[in-house]
């Protein structure tokens, strides 16, 4: 792996996104609309629902979207022959994986800044903890989504299969992450399972920030997220093969 080739890959992926304005618009507008809907639904409720759910969604969107986008994008590279040629060129497998992750981290930064400002100024979200931590967790969860997508895409042979990877990998995590039911109320086995799923830690960090926690309260969850990212990069790099059937 060499930094300039990683950056060249990042620039290439960002150029592809730049030519695809509709995808950028969807990446940013869809979470804004959904947050807006939540704010509107609970408009007259006395409980500050948006303050509770807003930060969690800001953390979950990048993971979800970047997972789908990268698993489809890498599948395209596999079926279109571009990956095959890259693998015969002097490009490291790590350059490919980390280049993708960095490109989507940049996208996640743009997405989360716009969405958080929208949530605060328009939807009336109050963030009890520091706002910059929201950005940190949002970017980490985007990078995690991207690297998990890269690793999972090795399992898909067609685009239909690639799209199914999202419900297969992310919906169980969404059910068990503590957003739908507090984790300590779940059966013990499920609590254990939720502890080995990465989304749990992204949501935990966001919930703590929403409740007024700072770096001290969230650094444990953030550390676990970083470990998951390192693991996903390693997995994605090993599932990337120079030789195929």
């Amino acid at each position: 792996m060499t930094p300039d080739l990683t950056l060249a890959t990042m620039r290439r992926v960002l150029s592809q996104l730049r030519h695809d304005r509709r995808t950028i618009a969807l990446l940013i507008v869809v979470p804004m609309v959904l947050l807006g809907l939540i704010a509107w639904m609970f408009h007259s409720s006395p409980a500050p629902v948006i303050d509770q759910f807003g930060p969690v969604l800001v953390g979950f969107f990048p993971l979800l979207v970047m997972f789908i986008v990268t698993s489809v994008a890498t599948l395209r590279e596999r079926t279109g022959g571009t990956l095959e040629r890259l693998m015969t060129m002097p490009l490291g497998k790590g350059d490919f994986v980390v280049g993708y992750a960095l490109a989507f981290a940049v996208m996640a930064l743009v997405q989360s800044v716009v969405v958080v400002l929208w949530a605060i100024w328009v939807c009336g979200m109050n963030v009890a903890g520091p706002v910059w931590l929201l950005f940190v967790v949002a970017i980490l969860s985007a990078v995690l989504g991207c690297t998990l997508g890269l690793a999972a895409s090795a399992l898909a042979r067609t685009e239909f299969q690639a799209v199914q990877l999202m419900p297969a990998f992310l919906l169980p995590q969404l059910l068990l992450c503590g957003l739908i039911m507090p984790r300590d109320q779940m059966p013990e086995v499920l609590q254990w399972i939720s502890r080995v799923l990465p989304l749990t830690y992204a949501v935990e960090a966001m919930q703590k920030i929403a409740a007024g926690g700072g770096w001290e309260e969230t650094r444990g969850a953030i550390g676990v997220l970083v470990l998951f990212i390192v693991g996903a990069v390693a997995l994605a790099t090993t599932t990337l093969r120079r030789r195929t059937e």
């Binding site: 060249a8 290439r12 571009t82 095959e84 015969t88 059937e245």
Partner: protein, 250 residues
């Protein structure tokens, strides 16, 4: 080229490739000399692409050895010396021609000047800002070829680079291949069009995962008594089928 001087461009010994239950290639030997344009001719499905993928190190191989310039195929030092063009153009359709080439240039460590020069070589000067998706099939395959040419590789493995091109462009590309050879490069070029045999220094005729013949066109014509490459190919196929039948009867 250092330690590998004197070694052939490609040396394949006892190559076996298995896909599922199919033995796609079973015990194939061949040698491609340096500084020649070698044509790999055969009908579609004869195993040309599989063989080329094995030579560039993209194919899982079940047995045998492949050496490129004396080094095992697909190893890191060869990735700079071998250029590969896949049959379907492997470029990003959503990027411009220039963006595609500059990404490859970064990987191959060549400068922007070389990018411009390469675009000229494949007759795409002035196409730098065009989005690849909007190009015609012939233009697309030349963008893909340009990526291969960028790094001035010592060995070019080109899978059907002239398919679908108009005759003028085809002639220009073959002229380019000859210039690259004169400049010291070795080329392995596949085609299912037998007419292209006359443009090659040597020919490898392939069918059913095996090499039917290996030699220059005049040698092949003399051996088979045919008037062109297609005739020679048919003669060799008939001969092989007759030998198989004879073997089965005995």
């Amino acid at each position: 080229m250092g330690n590998s001087e004197g070694a052939p461009a490609i040396a394949v010994r006892g190559l076996r490739i298995v896909r599922g239950a199919n033995h796609v290639i079973e015990g194939l030997d061949l040698t491609v000399p340096t500084r020649q344009v070698v044509g790999l001719l055969g009908p579609s499905g004869s195993g040309k692409t599989t063989l080329m993928r094995a030579i560039v190190g993209a194919q899982i191989v079940a047995g045998g050895t492949i050496d490129v310039f004396g080094q095992p195929a697909g190893t890191a030092p060869l990735r700079r010396r071998v250029g590969y063009t896949t049959q379907t153009p492997s470029v990003y359709p959503d990027l411009t021609v220039g963006e595609n080439l500059r990404y490859a240039a970064a990987i191959l460590r060549v400068d922007d000047e070389r990018v411009t020069e390469t675009l000229g070589e494949v007759d795409l000067a002035g196409f730098g800002k065009r989005i690849v998706r909007t190009l015609s099939g012939g233009e697309l395959s030349r963008v893909s070829l340009a990526v291969t040419l960028l790094g001035k590789p010592d060995l070019l493995v080109l899978d059907e680079p002239t398919v679908g091109l108009d005759p003028v462009l085809r002639r220009d590309l073959w002229d380019l291949f000859h210039r690259l050879r004169d400049g010291g490069a070795s080329l392995l070029v596949s085609s299912h069009v037998m007419d292209e045999a006359v443009r090659c220094d040597r020919l490898l005729l392939m069918r059913g995962g095996a090499i039917l013949a290996d030699g220059t066109l005049p040698e092949l014509l003399e051996r088979t008594g045919a008037v062109d490459a297609e005739g020679a190919f048919l003669h060799l196929v008939d001969e092989a089928v007759a030998a198989e039948k004879g073997g089965a009867a005995a």
